[in-house]
Symmetry: C2
Subunit: 345 residues, 2 copies
Amino acid sequence: MWCNAAMGRARTGAGPRSPRSTITDVAREAAVSPATVSRVLSGTKPVSADRERRVRAAVARLGYRPNPAAQGLLRGATHTIGVVVPDLSNPYFAEVLKGVTNAAEAADFRTLVADTGEKAGAEHDAALELSRWADGVVLCSPRMSHWELTMLADAVARLMCVNRLGRGEPVPAVVVDFESGVSSICRHLRELGHRRVVYLRGPNRAWSERARQRALRAASAPGFEIVQVPCGSSSVDGHRAADAALATRATAVMAFSDYVALGVLARLDELGVSVPGDMSLTGFDDIAMSSLVSPRLTTVAVDKQRLGRHAWQLFAASAADGPGGQVVTVTPDLIIRGSTAGPVT
Amino acid sequence: MWCNAAMGRARTGAGPRSPRSTITDVAREAAVSPATVSRVLSGTKPVSADRERRVRAAVARLGYRPNPAAQGLLRGATHTIGVVVPDLSNPYFAEVLKGVTNAAEAADFRTLVADTGEKAGAEHDAALELSRWADGVVLCSPRMSHWELTMLADAVARLMCVNRLGRGEPVPAVVVDFESGVSSICRHLRELGHRRVVYLRGPNRAWSERARQRALRAASAPGFEIVQVPCGSSSVDGHRAADAALATRATAVMAFSDYVALGVLARLDELGVSVPGDMSLTGFDDIAMSSLVSPRLTTVAVDKQRLGRHAWQLFAASAADGPGGQVVTVTPDLIIRGSTAGPVT
DNA sequence: CTGTTAGCGCATTCAC
DNA sequence: GTGAATGCGCTAACAG
């Protein structure tokens, strides 16, 4: 439905503020040299009060703002950080991105974003592409192979990961302590009396999934059986996998994440399965929605924006070829809410 | 909690792929002139098969990729589009951003994002800042004043709005037909027999809120009373405003958006108010969560990613100082689900 | 303090 | 076809 709002784009206002004025224009306008203009703007070298005033006036009059591409070319840095996420629709990644963006903004950096649509194969190229522009690249929960990550670390100077640890490659990373989180959930469920629970698996290629597996293996015991069902990372996946979970005759469902758990909850509701009456349910991450649904979700709280901020700090710390692969571990807290209870016996 | 993953960042792999090679390096390596390298890469002018092979080999060997800042400087365009959103935590904006990003990516454009944290005062500067880098800027639901928008349109060559129409300024925009959507909801509620409903207001400065007000005024009639309560645009706002809504003794709550409605729903649940038994509830936008909660939300479906794609198209169409302020209107569809029913009498 | 010079990496003229 | 020269806008060296 196209309408035309008439009126060709006419400059409305007063200023003959041309599309883009250069430093030379300003210099001419202020009757000084370009270098002086640059000095005034950057404040690096002292300039006489008189000239400074003229320059500032000219800058204001022309609406001049330096061309960052030119500055970047000269400095060899663009003041830009890139972020690669698997899926912006996932509130988890949206929050991490927000964390990076806010931190970057505070440091006068721009944020470039790429959404790979959960396609592991696209991550490597997206990161490489962003790295051309950006001074550094943050990889959020990359699903790429170990080998690809190694290649990438080789090609991208300042690469950071969120929720992904390499094996050998010293890529700075901020990771959630998934093992601790999953252990807490298992302990909670076991203490409630559950003896057989089902775990809905996340993406196989996600490092965080492998970390969860380790915790699951450790928690699994004769009196506490954990069966697994493939699922995915979105609420749609959870919705789909709920039936299979039910079929396992477990008394509790541990979802890969809150986002997944919400899908499960919806499906259980459709099926008339009461939570936590007939079935307990847990998530992971504590996204905003989890405390808005009924029953509120028992989960493990991760400060997602904080992950983004940490990633930024790793970037900042990596300046000047810093100390190399630092790892920040964030320990999440179990939040017991209404979606878990003892099993019916 | 800082650990150190040891091992300084050592180049792992084979390639002596230096941090960054220039076109000159490639030229030297291939024993040709920089111009030839450029021609091979851009494919603009024919090059002898032999030289082409040598150049490609050198490019691969050095892992050369042209510096976009330099290209941008030369071409006067950066192949980058900027997006300003009020809040990335809001699933609505995350989706719009995703729409822009995906469309941009397909056209080999990067996406720069700025989150203004719902601070109307920050929008103007954020957009201006992004415009230095980007070839165009998309403003999502800007809350800025008319005057600021006018200024901005004057300063930013290719400015697009989502969900905001100016008055005079011919800023290309893609907008949801809020009046139609709100009318549908009102009609639905009236047909169910509601005679007194409460509307939870969004941000006063949002254009979409003013559009809703127009529809509300039109729908209001002797037999259909609409009272209003200030609220906001987030689920937290909705949660907070629910009590006031209840106090109006209306039989239905129309929330500004789904995101708000989810907060309301949570609060009503806490209060033991049954939906739709004791109170009907409607949203706007149809975000993913709305069909996952119980009861599923009656709302008006907007294709958010499509808004982003349209914004991209407006950008693409604005090339070469196109036809000026185009307006695309997207008409949303009423989706009747479980959160609405007739009032108890 | 200030102006002039040079060059960041690249694509695009020109000559050959 | 190809290479040498020019300049995008800016700042860091240099002179003065």
